[in-house]
Symmetry: C2
Subunit: 212 residues, 2 copies
């Protein structure tokens, strides 16, 4: 049942889980696909279709049991365990990532960081040891790292991604402003605020074509 499921569906499931988690925290025990859809700007039909990939949830006209659906989604997504993360590139952004407490709250434990600069390597940031880049392969060979966060400059990013992949890392979150390549079987997500802004300026330009 796994590999046939479109990636866009998988990518929506964490949003469903987050909304359900908020609902559960507010004391709700049942939610309709209508209500859930309104919270997420997704149609109820889309939610029902997405969930149908994973079996039957809820009863016609009764809505979903919040706790049960949340548990199932957490299990499907692997959110019911912890994952080890490494961060590569400890400039301003990498530093901010090490200081961000939102990862560990969601089960993502940053266990190590790497940086090419001798001034940064060897230091501890938020209790996380920053190692020199030449220790990357050795570390990954002996320690379990599930996800790598790449925050190096654009020109270094593909080489770093290649080294991570060669060391067996199967999931990469890339903050460098390039479209990095990974082979089949490795997941990558790109975070690029400039690209996101550039997708919005198209609409701004349409709203006020003479401005600027």
């Amino acid at each position: 049942m796994t590999s046939d499921i479109p990636e866009v569906v998988i990518n929506r499931l964490p949003l469903y889980a987050r909304a359900l988690s908020t609902l559960a925290a507010s004391g709700a025990t049942v939610v309709s696909s209508q209500t859930l859809g309104e919270q997420l700007d997704v149609t109820p039909a889309q939610i029902r279709k997405d969930l149908s990939y994973f079996g039957r949830f809820g009863k016609q006209g009764r809505g979903y049991n919040v706790g049960d659906l949340l548990d199932r989604l957490r299990s499907i997504l692997g959110l019911d365990r912890t994952w080890n993360v490494c961060v590569v590139g400890i400039g301003r952004l990498g530093h901010a990532i090490l200081e961000y407490d939102g990862f560990v709250q969601q089960g993502f434990h940053t266990v190590v960081a790497f940086d090419a600069s001798p001034a940064v390597a060897g230091t501890d940031i938020q209790g996380i040891r920053v190692r020199p880049m030449d220790e990357l392969e050795g570390y990954l060979a002996s320690e379990e790292v599930d996800i790598a966060v790449v925050a190096v400059p654009a020109e270094a990013a593909q080489v770093v991604v290649d080294r991570l992949v060669a060391s067996g890392v199967k999931a990469i979150l890339n903050y460098a402003p390039i479209s990095a390549h990974v082979p089949e079987g490795v997941s990558i997500r790109q975070i690029d605020p400039v690209v996101m802004m550039q997708g919005m300026t198209y609409y701004l330009k349409e709203l006020a074509p003479d401005a600027g």
Copy 2:
């Protein structure tokens, strides 16, 4: 020709522009949809189809003129002008955003920041004045701001988004970990590294279902 174009197409155009920009910098003058597609992990057919929304580009079998296509894409996306940005919420993340020089290089000028904390409001960061939140509406009424970056805590984010929208902001980049709502006619993009990681752990779990 504008509103019929799917948003996913618009969102790919900045990636095409970025790849073309790199090609141009390396001295390339012509590129095939095949080569461009390989750089971006997009099929050549997809590139041709995406571009066909905007007219005819390139000649069958000859590829695209890199400079011409780049100019057209920059014009289509509104990247041939500058845009004014405000950043709301100057905690660690907002601070890192103010210090990030990648925006201004791409024509996104951060002109002002806002923060609720009296300790932060009134300071300058990277030459950008941080104003108290209660000056938000007044500032936006008199100064041109095209895009707002929201970096406030989750529980404050929807209220901030609502205030920005009420003040006429039409494009919002939201770093807060909520699915914020905006009315029709306002663009919003969500940046949430946790959600992106949670979309990848699904695949990690499939690779090693017994681990953890």
